[in-house]
Subunit: 301 residues, 2 copies
Amino acid sequence: MKHLLAVDWGTSSLRGALLDRHGKVLQERTFARGILTVPPGEFATVFEACFEPWTRAAGTFCLISGMAGSRQGWVEAPYCACPAGLDDIARQLVWVTPGCIAIVPGLRCEQDSIPDVMRGEETQVFGALQLLDLRDAVLVLPGTHSKWVRVASNRMEHFTTFMTGEFYALLRQHSILARTLPGDDGDLDVDAFNQGVALALHSASLLQTAFSARTLSLFERLPAAALPSYLSGLVIGEELRTQPLEAGAQVVLVGADTLTQRYELALAQRRVPVRRVGQDAAWRGLWAIASALSSSPTGIP
Amino acid sequence: MKHLLAVDWGTSSLRGALLDRHGKVLQERTFARGILTVPPGEFATVFEACFEPWTRAAGTFCLISGMAGSRQGWVEAPYCACPAGLDDIARQLVWVTPGCIAIVPGLRCEQDSIPDVMRGEETQVFGALQLLDLRDAVLVLPGTHSKWVRVASNRMEHFTTFMTGEFYALLRQHSILARTLPGDDGDLDVDAFNQGVALALHSASLLQTAFSARTLSLFERLPAAALPSYLSGLVIGEELRTQPLEAGAQVVLVGADTLTQRYELALAQRRVPVRRVGQDAAWRGLWAIASALSSSPTGIP
């Protein structure tokens, strides 16, 4: 493999990076061409239009993670079962163009007969582990559907999804609270955020705590401008409350700074130290999968 | 007092009943004229148009509960603090027309510096207590904002709001689950409902359990037609999970049958027996408040 074209094709955006044989990022591109914008049968055309100069170079191998492998995506890549390591994922790639373009499978796990799934986050997890040189970790990938992941001996053992970002957006935009909250979220109000986290950590359910955003505003104990931060603290605190974390246990936060900073603040209330990895975890993860593939008997040259 | 015109004026509907001096309901009327449909300054006009024949009769006293007493309503009736009994409420009526039309105040309570409020449910609570001849009870008033109420010696000691109905609607209409759920809720699928309740009772947060509606559908373990009932079980089960109910403790459910039936099913999983009271609790409650007022030195004739 001369170059790797690493692609993260999600629901709402399409990101790509060109990596050299050592995994170094040479160039990056982002397009507002998430899979929801692509009509069925048009994935190859969109892909070519976005990355044509890179794909033309001889010896470029392309690996795609994310929702492009879902039923609504380019080619469906069935979920790989947990526990799973890099080798398992590399073995279950789905080829769009044999030897040239492949799609990374998502992962699934199950607990008490309830399945859970991810697509794209598995790549970030393995990238983050390599960047931090870890083989055992608890990782959190905040977002619309936040993931808590447990890795042991470099294999993903189990993970859990929380609809944290989506609940925030639902309450923010469509609930009775939307009438009170200002149009713009504004900068994070750290005190209001921490107040929301503290309440959620000591309460039983967001069904109850969410109403406090209304009553604190009604009795003028929180200004409207502080409510988005307070609500953000409530939902993130609710997610954290469910986790049996021991004091001193370390958590790896993977994602955009604006989100991982909030989780770091919230985890500080439980005295949990963090390490943070940015969105380049996806590139490193795709490079790690390509490397695992190269070293396998059926791998790419 | 010859007749009582009992009015429940909420956010989305306006209901009224004419009661004789013994509290018997003679006639009822319902209008799609919730306070959100009434422009400021037009409340008297709307009220007259809806109830004119009843108000013209000599000796008719009118008592209004619900959001008509909110800041956005006819006349603001400040919240009455808990613990509160019928006498406290009767003393804090706000008169629209002295001696003729009065608005029932809502209630407020506070725990750990977080206020909680209700408007209209207090009237249903006191009505339900009279109908069942109870002075001590735990009551649940399911709805958009569900209320759990503790009454001791005929005084409301404390209550808690859960945004259960609103969360259901948000998830149903605006979340990623909306794409999978059928357009119509259909009849209740009792098995799917119970499955949702059971999961919620043994889980830590709706942020996590809500995602199971998606994965169970993805792996074809629940048909799309069963998902609304399953989701309803998840949110109602989440509400119940937070309650420290002992087995055998009785709960009084107040409200429309379609909702109280679901709560009865869910509470059965915790072996909690129920008694149910319908929406006539509001009429009985308004009659009880009017009676408390009549017997006070400053009361109506």
